[in-house]
Subunit: 256 residues, 2 copies
């Protein structure tokens, strides 16, 4: 008799293992397979694809139930994916889910977000990987719509797979009734009012990074920012090969 193994689902995030978002995600995909969570022991937002190499990292088993094993890790989200894949798991995961992030990660946020960083790491390793984010930065938020879309995408990826070198970036708007999901492109954006200059109590100048994102193409209905502004979840396929092949041809004519 052949017993087929359940799909192995690796889960991580950047808000830490205790965050509401990751726990809602775990619950939502619990019945889809065997789940292993390797998530940071605290917040790691804005850490992009950072990894730790100047000191060792550690991990701790914090929960072991049927088909659910949870570890917390001292490292970054990228460290979590590397550690789980190379040291903890006995087989390659069928899918990596990163999130659900407390806060949106659309447009150029893919370059800052450690939720997306972990997803890209999974993609580099060769695991079909999905980053999931809700457009709400609060520690307690309504993930009821987000988990529906996260589970749908997870089920579809488990069934269809993903091409080599491509991961998915799913963002869900913070509305009680999401209108549906749109397959989108990464919006061209910039940041405005990005830095505030303050004076500390000793009279020294200090700077706080803040600001807001500015949509360079607000009328392009194909973008992820258009989607969430209009109440849709957005799903953007991201390539890890960032080469601009068109421009490559042009600069071959440069005298270098």
């Amino acid at each position: 008799m052949i017993t087929e193994k359940k799909p192995l689902i690796l889960i991580t995030n950047d808000d830490g293992v205790e965050a509401q978002g990751i726990n809602c995600l775990i619950d939502s995909v619990r019945t889809l397979g065997e789940i292993v969570v390797m998530a940071p022991d605290g917040p790691r937002s804005g850490m992009s694809g950072s990894f730790t190499f100047t000191k060792p990292i550690t991990c701790q088993l914090i929960k072991k139930e049927t088909d659910l094993t949870v570890y917390s890790c001292s490292g970054t989200p990228v460290d979590c994916v590397k550690l789980a894949f190379h040291q903890i798991l006995d087989r390659k995961p069928d899918i990596l889910l990163s999130g659900i992030n407390h806060g949106i990660n659309s447009a150029v946020c893919v370059f800052y977000s450690a939720t997306v960083g972990a997803m890209l790491e999974g993609t580099i390793i060769g695991i079909p990987s999905v980053a999931v984010s809700l457009c709400n930065n609060e520690a307690v938020a309504d993930f009821s719509q987000a988990v529906i879309y996260a589970r749908t995408v997870a089920e579809t990826v488990l069934q269809e797979g993903l091409p080599k070198g491509v991961g998915l970036n799913l963002n869900i708007p913070d509305t009680p009734q999401v209108k549906g999901m749109k397959v989108c492109s990464q919006t061209s954006t910039k940041w405005i009012r990005e830095i505030e200059r303050h004076t500390d109590p000793q009279g020294n100048t200090e700077y706080w990074l803040t600001g807001e994102i500015h949509d360079n193409e607000p009328h392009n209905r194909q973008t992820d920012m258009w989607a969430f502004r209009n109440g849709y979840a957005s799903l953007v396929p991201l390539k890890i090969d960032m080469t601009d092949y068109e421009f490559m041809k042009k600069i071959k004519n440069w005298e270098l």
Copy 2:
């Protein structure tokens, strides 16, 4: 009488303002324009596109000469670019140079490298941006070949510009006589032997990230890894729009 302003050159790195690489880079482009350096006050390698938002950042003027102003900054390389652009400079730089990094940043290293992270930040802002790395991790290295290629690319970019949303990733092999420069694609790679498991003196398990890069396409003569293995400097144009437009069409047929 019209006095034309000299090109404004913003320089940063991830090895810190005292590193040999950034100082060789400064010297090599010194005659090309007015230079402003905003670089971290210490090493920030492997920090990718990280930025600081949970605490303020500060900067300090450490050198002021004719056409050369140097600041050190408490933040990440991405913070350095944001701070210089939004608070320190009185005009938009004509070029951003990031490096010269002590260590190679080809292939998927673009996702971990803060040298490349700073270059991508410049590209997001809209500054023609170039990351420069030498394939030598030592604190003291021979940058004599690297500076020639860095200056050539800087001069060309100052003359030709770069398209919106595209930055350049230049890597120079560590050989006494580089054979020339090749325009390349980002090599498809993975990491092998990536994590070492150790036991600390108290008997606890700890993990060190290490390993080596494995070339998935060693016979592709177009890649940056082929170039440096064969003694050439590699120049890869990187797009900040990571959308996989081909795959986008396909997943529109998914039942989501």
